[in-house]
Amino acid sequence: MSRKLSVILLAMLALVGAMSLKTVVVAHGNGSVIMANGGAPQPPVPWK
């Protein structure tokens, strides 16, 4: 049981780390997006 809780804790830590990193990056960015899939030309974001 404690192992499962440790895994959940690690997953939550990874999530918090990733979202913190994203917040820092986006806060210092100019609004452009990170798209890391394939070589297709990127269209404008529809809701901005």
């Binding site: 997953a11 452009s32 070589g39």
Partner: protein, 231 residues
């Protein structure tokens, strides 16, 4: 509309994505690296479909825009599972499959919940915005997980050359996109950066195709020598 150079880079990238699956089948590694190959196969199909939609409807059309962002979410989820495939291979001797699955589900569910919490009050096009937000958030989760896997490989003194190369290629890929994003923010008017982003998309399929073609499953890296301390 994209220029000839952009079309050329896109074509090379698509061919490399197909080449990964072909090389994996040729080296009889398709099933062992099943999610990596499914991700590359999906990338190939999405590239072909995007080309079709772009040619049919045009760059500024709603069809291309929505198809691009929805397919990007699908691909990012595929990349997440490819990364988990690498995790299960690195930790296969520890018999922790169940824990890895639990962690993966919790992390994916947590990311989806976080993405929904961000978009639920900020947009009227909630589904599209959610897909976009989930893709962006999973990208950062993948980045963190890849660096954690690098650390685990170093700590466990992993010697399987193919596995190390696959993980390193993924790390370089994520790092290159992060560096490109930083450069875009610094010099957002530089026209050359327009070609860099799709060019970076070729890194991962090229490295993985080379790895499946040239590095055998039995290849091992020589562990670094221990320092001889005279007594």
């Amino acid at each position: 509309m994209p220029g000839p150079l952009e079309y050329c880079i896109w074509l090379v990238c698509t061919l490399l994505e197909g080449a990964v699956v072909v090389c994996a089948v040729k080296s009889q590694s398709f099933r062992r690296y099943i999610f990596l190959n499914l991700y590359m196969g999906l990338s190939f199909l999405v590239s072909v479909s995007r080309y079709h939609v772009l040619n049919h409807y045009g760059m500024a059309s709603n069809e291309y825009v929505y198809f691009y962002y929805y397919s990007d979410t699908l691909l990012t989820i595929g990349l997440y599972f490819a990364l988990l495939n690498l995790y299960s291979l690195v930790f296969d001797e520890m018999q922790v499959e169940g824990y890895l699955r639990l962690g993966a589900v919790v992390l994916l569910g947590g990311t989806a919940w976080f993405s929904y919490a961000v978009v639920q009050q900020s947009s009227h096009r909630i589904l599209t915005h959610f897909a976009y937000e989930l893709s962006q958030n999973l990208y950062f989760v993948g980045l963190v997980l890849t660096y954690a896997l690098w650390g685990a490989i170093l700590k466990l003194r992993e010697t399987r050359a193919r596995l190390i190369q696959l993980v390193l290629a993924l790390g370089v890929y994520f790092s290159a996109f992060a560096a490109n994003y930083a450069l875009q923010n610094l010099y957002f008017k530089a026209g050359v950066l327009r070609f860099v982003t799709p060019l970076l998309g070729c890194i991962l399929p090229a490295a993985w195709a080379y790895c499946f073609l040239r590095v055998s499953e039995e290849d091992r890296l020589v562990p670094s020598r221990l320092a001889a301390v005279p007594r």
